[in-house]
Subunit: 341 residues, 6 copies
């Protein structure tokens, strides 16, 4: 059943159904230029990073931003659990895409970095839509530049650690961004926490490097063993301990491929959406979150937008939690049926 | 591995595999006319409602009845958990489809209401196959007419409340049927219980109306938090408290889209089939259930009949539980490997 | 993110990505002849059984071995949970396929039996890739011949018992292999344990026969009720009690169809991959496992290789656990991040 | 746009859309027993042969009859080119399926032969829906038994000659049925004509045998070179020259895979539907056609029912042409917009 | 290979690839309001009509406009055959969608009529993207209102005549729009010409009505028989004979389903894209074309955007031909490799 | 129907069906090293180039070589039209893949060039499987190095000219390889001939450059207008006029997307497979062909291997024609049913 009545009421969209009209993220205003952004200074700006050149297996994540805008089932705007009309409390805009010329990694990464920096230095929360995971390198770098070099932690959901030094000669692979971020000092290791790692990669020397650099990880095995709630509580504690700001990076392959077939390097035995959505909500509620990305959504391998919709809801949880914090700060309380978060 | 040997034994179907022969629901006899129905007076009659005009997003549920008859993998007829040869204890027929002329909501709804009423007034349990969720309006109305206006409760599995007043000018939307049923008095609010609500719709005024009218709901968050078993126990208690009869309405989108991609308005973070099937079983075992529907199965968005098969098994659980009750009433006990329900 | 750097390091494959080069299972050496096998005497030999003539519903499992070699996403070779570089400790080869002439059950089964026997009598662990479940009849027979007639137990994951006597005139159906194995005495009933049974088949007389012959089963309901860990512990205890050797047979339809659409007779309400992979690991760690098969993967009904990858990881768990036992025997311990199994 | 108004008018089906109601072929009456058949003695009886055990590559044709009844888009009943309301002039029934037990070739073939013989000996035109091409062996044998052993010609559309002696040990393969029919004398070689052969099989010794036995063939190259119309005229002349009766066998893979992806052994470079449909029409208009089959439709590999619909229309062309002949014999003439055939 | 360099050059789009940035039709400016339209007075305005309630079989055409904007492969802007940079000569804008509330035919049709009228009365060429074919009723009515009631001819490509009076009680079906247009006098019958009719609908009384009202048709059989070029020449001559203005309506199901699987009522044996695109070009070059629609594109049944892309190119041919006419009028000539049309 | 009997006879493969055994191209021997190649000096070596980084729209061509080896339906080995058992006359081997590290254009291109040069300088005909079209740059360069710089013509089937100078900053795009080849002098313009160009790219300045450099082209419009046979005859004449050797490059998107959905930049209105296969055959029969590539096959967008199979048969036509020339040179003649080419 359908949410657009609510959506119209809230956003004033006269187009009716979500599949009509202009395909911006959640039907939010399209503000492509920095000038427009500075004039409005919204709370959050969605930035697309349609780049998948750094993919080791199945490509297609270049179509992620377009699908998240044009194909996701637009779920309304009233978050039931938190009892909040999101966009009453949070000004979200769609800032368009970083220009990612086909086949060109360096130029694309530079443009992503510039675009995200534009947003972050305006004091706006950038929510970046990948693209493959390599885009976290320029995106988180830009955030660190704007917020404080080495003062940003990173909470990272993924089946893979993405901390290799170099893969098959490629330093800008989607398997290496986290290494680059720690190496450069943009992100500090002690507030770098990973959740959901499983499978058969990377090899032990990479984990040794991670330990040396203070990174912490929670294998999917631990989630299976102790439950998502307990692990997330620990991960949050580790990530924020002494940390000024946090960046959240969600590789959609942290979900089991049954829930997220549309991704490039699927690994069976992952999380389920109910747990992941609540984990993201908790993080956005309880940490000094300043930026986020959602990556590795590959629409050509998706079916019936299952993966696209899960990724879309991750953004919605971030929005809802940020809105909730603003409301709480303003002394507001949840409407029906909202229960305390 | 294959069930049809059992099916043949039980139903005497000489066609062998389920993909051969006449495609009725579970291979049950086809009794389209009221006369035939009255002559046989079966326990349950399956009624198709191939209507999807009231869909706000992805259509296709018009193909639900056909797929549930012709494409579902016919799972045999011996319910392992209950240890019962279903059709030895329960006479189920396929009563065909209500005529739903394309594009015509009023005429289609009228025909659905008439067809379900035909079944219910004959004292037969109607199991209605949607179609979109708007069909619950005429179907449950017909049941209330036959069983007792205002004396029927409704247990409702769904990601969405479907209690809006009007959506984009449409009073007969698949987002409004529950409002119509309460408004008309066909179903009473105090025995109206919802399970699985999540996401971003409807807005708070709708929940306020629901509370005013005594409806109760269990968000998916509660299922996640407390577990399905506890929530279902509460929901059953609420639904049957002082209630003469119960109608069960299962929107397949209560399942997570990973398990049910073939639906119109998918919402990530839903139930899993193992929980849902047991919930349905429990309800059919423990309440004065008189009718049920299974809606929003949209085959064009399904893959490998995953959604179709889950919907099919929901019907099977209803059948098995009803059969079990008859057997118990007759002093019978489960065969191997049946364990107590 | 990408595993092939690790794979290259470990296996010395210069081809780079897993989608390049020769499509053997995990990129392991191809040893088709018995002579080559005897010369090398590896620890494990993968054997394909591309046969699906015995399927009652959706065929396609004949493409299982090809898909598992050519389409699975090759996950690297370092098992994170066990902290082991698998092929450092375990010599695995790909022994090619048994010749399964189209449409000919007897000839195909004979060839499968001969091929598996070739492996087993060389003291090599056969890991057989189906093919439909009927191939367990010749495969487990061959293992019993080599290891000890009547001295092998069988741990069987499946939605269906596959213990019918005859189905629609077919004694070599994919619904009858377990009956044949018990009848012949190849496998003994008291160490025959089933996990995951659910749905509507077989009828009670088959369960009566199973009880008479000492077979034990754990319905999916029990897994749902007690949890996978507890049930697997019991199943292992039952299977190895007084048993010299064990054969593991995994029908991929033990998983819920949401995780494994690519199979022939899907039954909603099954296991999830995280539980199944750990169950397989536990079995390979804690029992005298001598052989295994993975069956009923039907690529034509798969999507984005979801089913294929889950099946592939089942093999990987077997490999990793066997490698771990060898390492433990040699006094080795897990590398990072390996936690005790 | 929609045909069912016409369908209703003609057949009196009150169910409305083709996706509602009972899924018989074209909504025609279901007459499964010989008794019913003899009582009615229709002009044509549709017989399903859901068998695909003899397939060398992609299976799935077992689902052909079900899909042709339940999934094909029912195109109405008024043939525009011939200007004829088909079922006003031709009594067509659906005689159900021959019982094809899974995995059993001999039993399945025997049942197909018996079922088709039942139809043919009643003087009814059997239209057989495969199933793989091996079913032409029993089906055409049954027709020859009823109509005159050795007095029936065969016009055969296919990418492959299907005249091998034995393939991989299998005499009942879908690559050998034509050899069996000539060998037994059921069909005579001099009126055996093939159209559409292309690709890489069979080898020259098979063609030598064909020439020795008087078979004639028209390669797809000839269709490409001379055009379909000229080749069909020749093929008809050859097939009927001195021939009492004709059997038409259409392997859907005679179409280019672009038009017929849903088949087992696709060969690029085939016919287009516009040509094939007219060829079938011409044959049914101009030859003593007594039976037909349409084979190798494999729904698991189809998309959007493209292949299923083309196969369905082949049956419709046969019906329309037979109806036209009856009308002409009765002195009737085409309605609008019918042009002379 | 890729067109976006050209696109950028022509339209000044800095986003790079067509899958990035704002998803308007061909990346053209988005002008939703009448005020904007009147201020700019472009040559052509694209209007979406996301409505599919009137569909008799497979729905989904509501997603047509979104897919044509967001999923079509944007082919560049330089028409090779005509040697013209289209948007140098023709100002095309995207005017957004008519509001089509779900399930409401009358309101949706009224909105479509109003929106198209807004465009047409501004002297702008409306190019309407369906939606199902019922939208031609309001769209062509609006054009007739603006251009001259009864002075507009209609050239109609379709597998179906869509001239029924009423279907299953529905006067606003996608099978009846042409009847409504002739009945009201909006379009005159003598300049109403149909091309591509085939299959089994409508019945002869409908053709009789068509003849009485002066409509002309060219069956697909005639296209097959005489070739597309000759038939199109005749159709153009008939359509423009004494006609002031022409409306072109292209139902994508005029194409064979092999080329256009993504449609609701597919009929095998249709046209190929090469012929259809040239026919549309010829019509736009040689007639007083004032409006056009492209309907019945149903993305849920499409694969790899095959249907979407063909529909997109139909619009491009209209644009290119209109641009060519303007250039010719201005004394311009084709660039390389343009050959005379 | 099935080809593997023939395949076995010819190649001695004991594995039976094409989906079994080792997945090399056509089951030919796997010779990865130059040493092996030099030892055997086969007639043709198949080389994979699994690279798609240079793609402007839909990626996925990296999976082309794997799919052509592992998923194509292996069509037998006896070419009917030419009446030749191909591998009796032509020694073809599979030389494996050039190493294409993910995301690295320069390294990948260098490796492709080296691998193809290895083959060509050994006097072996390289048949290169893409990969996107950028791989023609290194591949044809390597051939020119080995055969004679500037002495090789190029016959190019494609919807797009691929002669841009630079696209979005990328000189190594899949839209620029032909420019690079002419610029470097590797290929000479006057024997560079293109067939099938259509659509909306490139702009006129690129065509001007092409004319200046003597390149010739045949638009798809000309193929539509004059027929494939006439155009191919001209193209051959132009390509070989004064040319020592020829390289054939087939972009699968020269086919209409209805026949080749599995490609990255589909353009409606293309060739059909029957024409293309005969064109390739003619070229291989009538020109001094020394190398060929088949590119832009993108399996993620394919359905039922339709595109993969068409691409596979293009290779087979090259093989068959080369074999025919050897036989003719040896005085041999076609077997049945071979007609003169």
């Amino acid at each position: 059943m359908p949410p657009y009545a609510a959506r119209e009421a809230a956003v004033g969209n006269p187009d009716g159904p979500g599949y009509a009209g202009l395909a911006t993220f959640c039907g939010r205003p399209w503000l492509e230029s920095e000038a427009e952004l500075l004039a409005r200074r919204p709370d959050v700006a969605v930035v697309g990073a349609p780049f998948d050149v750094a993919t080791t297996h199945r490509p297609g994540a270049r179509f992620g931003p377009r699908a998240l805008r044009a194909s996701a089932y637009d779920p309304g705007t009233y978050h039931l659990d938190l009892g909040i009309e999101i966009f009453d409390w949070l000004d979200v805009v769609d800032a368009g895409d970083a220009h990612c010329p086909h086949g060109l990694t360096e130029a694309s990464h530079a443009n992503i970095r510039a675009k995200v920096h534009e947003v972050a230095r305006a004091g706006v929360f950038p929510l970046v839509l990948g693209g493959d995971h390599s885009i976290t390198w320029p995106a988180a770098t830009a955030v660190a530049e704007a917020v404080g070099w080495g003062e940003v932690g990173l909470l990272h959901f993924d089946a893979h650690a993405d901390t290799a030094d170099i893969i098959d000669g490629n330093l800008a692979s989607h398997g290496t961004p986290m290494r680059r971020l720690i190496e450069s000092g943009a992100i500090r290791g002690r507030n770098f926490v990973q959740v959901g790692l499983r499978g058969y990669w990377p090899p032990p020397d990479v984990f040794a490097w991670m330990r040396e650099n203070g990174l912490r990880w929670h294998l999917m095995h631990e989630v299976w063993d102790r439950g998502s709630r307990a692990v997330i509580a620990d991960a949050i504690a580790e990530a924020v301990d002494g940390c000024k700001a946090l960046y959240l990076s969600v590789d959609i392959d942290v979900l089991d491929p049954g829930f997220a077939p549309g991704t490039g390097t699927p690994e069976p035995g992952g999380m389920n959406p109910a747990d992941l959505l609540r984990a993201v909500r908790q993080i956005a509620l309880d940490t000094p979150l300043v930026a986020a990305d959602i990556v590795e959504v590959s629409p050509p391998f998706d079916h019936a937008d299952t993966t696209v919709n899960s990724a879309h809801r991750i953004a919605m949880e971030v929005f809802a939690a940020l809105a909730h914090r603003r409301r709480t700060a303003a002394g507001g309380t949840p409407d029906l049926p909202g229960t305390a978060p």
